[in-house]
């Protein structure tokens, strides 16, 4: 309601940020962000092509509060590519510690890719810190995930968006960060698709909403010509992996190209790119 009044009313556009800043924090925040707690990301995992997915889950509270005892615990949820839950795991997390999760130890090889998330409980000493409840602080875990090829070569990537909101120190119920439907977004990754620089690449897209979405990935030649297009439907909490293989890359001939992804369901839910090389190596990057 307040957003509506500020954004749609007679208030001049340039005054809106100032006006918003003058409001008490509780009025600026939506309902599920008015206490304190944590906000987590949804990540992509895969177990195909000799790749294992490793999540080194870091106790990030120790970095933010090095003077407090931040030993805590966590929980991890694994979903298949359609968003159906496969398994969960609970773990302890020491101060300045990291809990290492190998997806190959949790998921059988019937599943080759999917999504997962984890929640690190706000440590008791942090929850008691004077700034946290009064400042309505929500901790956003900007976790990093590692894809390990042939048990020796790694590629790290960080999460790009937000998924679940947990209140206080709760480890059970959560709500979605994106509770309302937002218009589908497009993204044009800066990444130049340059012939000879990779053998294949996978475009990874996640759905962080509770609605199905339809996304498309288009490979363009520099100048704008459309060379190849794929469309996919992604279930809530699910993901899609769109492969641009050798034969598709050959369509560029000697030209450089670029990708465009349409239909992204959340504001910052940009795709990630995983590249495969002739040597067997991989790399990954967020867009």
């Amino acid at each position: 309601m307040l957003d509506f009044l500020i954004n749609k009313s007679f208030v001049a556009r340039r005054v809106r940020p100032w006006l918003r800043d003058k409001l008490p924090i509780s009025l600026r925040r939506r309902k599920n962000l008015r206490k304190f707690g944590s906000i987590n990301e949804l990540y992509f995992w895969r177990l195909d092509r000799g790749i294992d997915t490793v999540a080194p889950i870091q106790n990030y509270f120790s970095g933010l509060f090095p003077g407090l005892e931040t030993a805590t615990e966590g929980k991890l949820w694994v979903f298949d590519h359609d968003g159906a839950q496969i398994t969960t795991l609970e773990f302890k997390l020491p101060h300045q510690g990291t809990h290492l999760v190998r997806m190959s130890e949790l998921v059988n090889r019937d599943h080759s890719y999917g999504t997962f998330m984890w929640q690190v409980r706000v440590p008791e000493a942090v929850a008691r810190h004077s700034l946290i409840p009064s400042g309505m602080v929500y901790f956003a875990d900007r976790g990093y995930v590692c894809y390990e090829k042939n048990k020796c070569q790694v590629a790290f990537i960080h999460g790009v968006d937000r998924y679940a909101v947990f209140q206080g120190r709760d480890m059970g119920a959560s709500s979605l960060f994106y509770r309302k439907s937002t218009p589908a977004k497009s993204w044009v990754p800066e990444f130049p698709v340059q012939p000879g620089m990779q053998m294949e690449l996978d475009v990874l897209i996640l759905n962080r909403t509770d609605r199905k979405c339809e996304c498309s990935m288009v490979l363009h030649r520099n100048g704008g010509e459309k060379v190849y297009e794929l469309t996919t439907n992604i279930s809530p909490r699910g993901c899609s992996m769109l492969t641009v293989d050798r034969s598709v890359l050959r369509l560029l001939d000697k030209d450089i190209g670029y990708l465009k992804v349409d239909g992204l369901p959340t504001t910052w839910g940009r795709p990630a790119l995983m590249r495969h090389f002739d040597s067997g190596a991989i790399s990954v990057m967020h867009c």
């Binding site: 120790s62 970095g63 090095p66 602080v137 960080h158 993204w187 130049p192 040597s279 990057m285």
Partner: protein, 292 residues
């Protein structure tokens, strides 16, 4: 390629830019991927840019190379080693910044004296693809931009970073690279940073002081400072008072030629809170770790 001449407008220079460590000394080739497109596909339609490469050695600007132009629906990689070699700087260059300047502000080899119609806000998320590779091997890349107001004159910045992107393996070299750059002219502040490495169990196994000169970077090869052990994965915490740094993790598998490149987030990215609260949490953490 020619060099930019005359007076430089620092505001225009940093509308869309990214500082980059040149990793030739570690046996890596360095590239920068640029485009004229807005990644969000909503702003600046049809705009084209002049691509500049500011190259530094020992905190001194060697020159600003005019690499070319990049327009809408155009993406390409700049071979930074080749650009640097063409100027004869390959043995000394250690650091560079890739800039995209809207074409109307540059005529041939110098800035045009016209009113500036743009600010950085018009180009948020205009990031550069920073890519490293081993000769005849694979490539790894990451996208980032110069953080807004990075080490701006008059500010009192500090640096706190914590992440887990360290991987120890006989076939691999794991590096942490810290970039010390500023959007202000005449920046000279050397950063004295502390780096701590932790095991999975949270035990600090290594502590190191790092000096990062202004307009340069410092590269730490992690296996040089770790005691022998059986773990593959480690985490780190790094702090510095008085200047901000941009931390990059690079892991090179020499057998497969694989490269992993990723940046780390500043603490404010972990905190959904008002700025005064964020600032206080960060300041208290930096002071605690620095023993102040």
């Amino acid at each position: 390629m020619s060099l930019l001449q005359g007076t430089i407008d620092y505001g225009i220079l940093h509308l869309a830019s990214a500082p980059i460590a040149i990793m030739a000394k570690e046996g890596l080739r360095t590239f920068a991927g640029v485009t004229g497109d807005d990644p969000s596909n909503t702003r600046n339609a049809g705009m084209s840019f002049v691509v500049l490469l500011s190259v530094f050695a020992e905190s001194k600007l060697l020159g600003r190379i005019i690499v070319g132009t990049v327009g809408p629906c155009e993406h390409y990689f700049i071979d930074i080693d080749r650009e640097v070699a063409e100027q004869g700087w390959q043995d000394i260059a250690s650091f560079c910044v890739a800039h995209r300047v809207p074409s109307q502000y540059i005529n041939e080899d110098r800035f045009v004296n016209i009113p500036v119609m743009h600010s950085h806000k018009d180009f948020t998320m205009y990031r550069t693809v920073v890519q490293y590779g081993v000769d005849s091997g694979a490539l790894g890349s990451v996208t980032y931009e110069t953080p807004p107001n990075f080490n701006m004159a008059g500010a009192n910045p500090s640096f706190l970073s914590f992440s887990n992107k360290i991987y120890i393996h006989p076939d691999s070299d794991s590096y942490l690279v810290f970039l010390n750059y500023s959007v202000s002219p005449d920046y000279t502040k050397t950063s004295n940073a502390s780096l701590m490495l932790y095991t999975l169990g949270g035990v600090c196994v290594s502590q190191l002081s790092i000096t990062v000169p202004a307009l340069d970077c410092a590269c730490v090869r992690i296996s040089d400072i770790l005691p022998d052990g059986s773990e593959n994965f480690f985490s780190f915490v790094a702090v510095s008072s008085g200047s901000a740094l941009l931390p990059i993790s690079i892991i090179v598998n020499r057998r497969l030629g694989g490269v992993s490149v990723e940046h780390s987030h500043p603490p404010q990215e972990y905190l959904f809170a008002d700025w005064p609260v964020v600032k206080r949490i960060k300041t208290e953490a930096v002071n605690t770790i620095s023993g102040r």
